[in-house]
Amino acid sequence: MTYPRGIFIRNSATQRVNHWITAACFVLLMISGLAMFHPMLFWLSALFGGGQWMRAVHPWVGCILVVSYAGMIVQYVRDNLPTHDDVAWMKAIGSVLTNDEEHIPEVPRFNTGQKFVFWSMALLVPVLLITGLAIWDAYFEHATPIETQRIAALIHSMAAAIAIIIWIIHVYAAIWVRGSVRAMTRGYVTPGWAWRHHRKWLRQLVETGSMGPRPGS
């Protein structure tokens, strides 16, 4: 892996690949899911080669996402555990939203907003998996009673809508905080970026003489 001199690695290559597999699956699921959710968006089914193909493909993409997100959990869970830093960060949410960096406490590898996205998806993905299996008619048509499938369809749609909203927050935050997209594409950030947004993480890396993404690595 080649990185420019003097940078810090924000996300390892494995993490990045894992992230983008998840992202690709999520976008495909979102498009096909919205097409099946609302008549005005059914035209999106054309992107999958028509309604039949979309209906057939959606659950399989979901399966890939589940495996992929499990990988995300394994790779990121340690740095997403709640700490006292989160309390301080939440208290300064007003400063966060107004780019008032002076009044935001020092943040470790992930801030509370990022942890919120991580844990929301960690909760929603299993919900979408279980409810999705119940309404996967090609294989599980008779696995559960129809009443269960009705409830599953409702919960699946609600969970998906929440997931899409969280995804929008996630994508917007990446655009808003400049340098974040590169942190997930090429994997690195400048020392100034780390200082500005994740100072506690930067201090830990510098103390251990690490290039990142974790102290000592």
Binding site: G51, A153, S157, G179, W195
Partner: protein, 304 residues
């Protein structure tokens, strides 16, 4: 949505936000009346259905009951269901009900269907599946209060009774009606069938079936297939005919309130993000940050 020649007959179309063609709303609604009390269970209707619709199910197993096959399937659009019922007097009654699509006035299948034009309701009230638009998702199965549609594992299309819409469209009665040897299945305008049914109900009451009645459940806005039952107070004794069928509350929420709420939530998130950017702008690293970081790195032992 690909059109066919009868598109002006549709008064309801699945997965559309627009008003379907309504010039023929004046058309008289039809109904099939199944007089359970006159049925002898000969299955001529079942055979006629297969014959007219050209359906050939695979030969199944004998399961020790008259129900054959055991359940509706993509090749069985109507099915005689036999029930041995011990009445309160201690006598055995053999209840035989011809099961199949009820052609609800407010069809749950159509409400649940996500594919535009895969399920339609004609001005006559007949609910029909347009296979070329069907995506095989099975939502109709969840929407149906009567457990009727069946998805084929071969072609992933949903199938059910069409009320012989192709025959009715050219002025013929449905095949099952044509074949019934006892006149237990009648077909005509819904008004005529209701009138005829009330005569039958009166007759039955005079013969000791005081709970005889017409099954035209209001929970689904009435149906275009109705039953005369000797025990209309207990529809469920007829092989699980729902006592008070209605579209499930879960399906109503899923296909009703949730759709605008969810899309509004998604749109709100996107607009909020855009406005945040317009008001506060992006958060960019400044030279000062790079300087401070460089200082920290130097203090801790220089660049790696």
């Amino acid at each position: 949505m690909p059109n066919n020649l009868q598109s002006q007959d549709y008064i309801r179309i699945s997965a559309t936000t627009l008003t379907p063609p309504s010039v023929r709303r004046h058309e008289e609604e039809v109904a099939k009346l199944i007089d359970v009390t006159r049925c002898i269970g000969c299955k001529a209707c079942q055979a006629a259905c297969m014959e007219w619709n050209n359906l050939r199910g695979s030969v199944g197993q004998f399961e020790g009951t008259y129900d054959n096959p055991l359940d509706l399937d993509p090749n069985t659009w109507t099915l005689m269901r036999f029930t041995e019922w011990d009445n309160p007097k201690g006598d055995l009654e053999w209840l035989i009900r011809k099961d199949g699509c009820m052609h609800c006035e407010d069809p749950g299948c159509l409400k649940a269907c996500p594919a535009p034009g895969a399920i339609v309701q004609y001005a006559s009230g007949i609910v029909d599946f347009v296979s070329e638009n069907c995506i095989g998702c099975g939502y109709c199965v969840k929407g149906c209060p009567f457990n009727i549609p069946r998805i084929s594992q071969v072609d992933h299309k949903s199938y059910k009774c069409t009320l012989c819409s192709d025959r009715v469209g050219v002025g013929l009665e449905p095949a099952c009606v044509k074949a019934c040897p006892t006149g237990a299945i009648m077909f005509g305008s819904k008004t005529d069938m209701t009138t005829w049914a009330s005569e039958r109900v009166e007759d039955l009451k005079s013969r000791g079936f005081e709970n005889a009645g017409l099954y035209d459940p209001p929970g689904v806005g009435g149906t275009h297939v109705m039953y005369v039952l000797h025990h209309a107070d207990m529809p469920s004794i007829y092989a699980g005919l729902p006592d008070n069928p209605h579209i499930s509350t879960f399906v109503q929420a899923w296909k009703g309130a949730l759709k605008p709420i969810a899309l509004a939530g998604v749109a709100f998130a996107a607009v909020a993000g855009f406005l945040h950017w317009v008001v506060w702008g992006s958060n960019e690293v400044e030279d000062r940050d790079e300087k401070e970081a460089a200082e920290l790195i130097r203090a801790e032992g220089g660049p790696k």
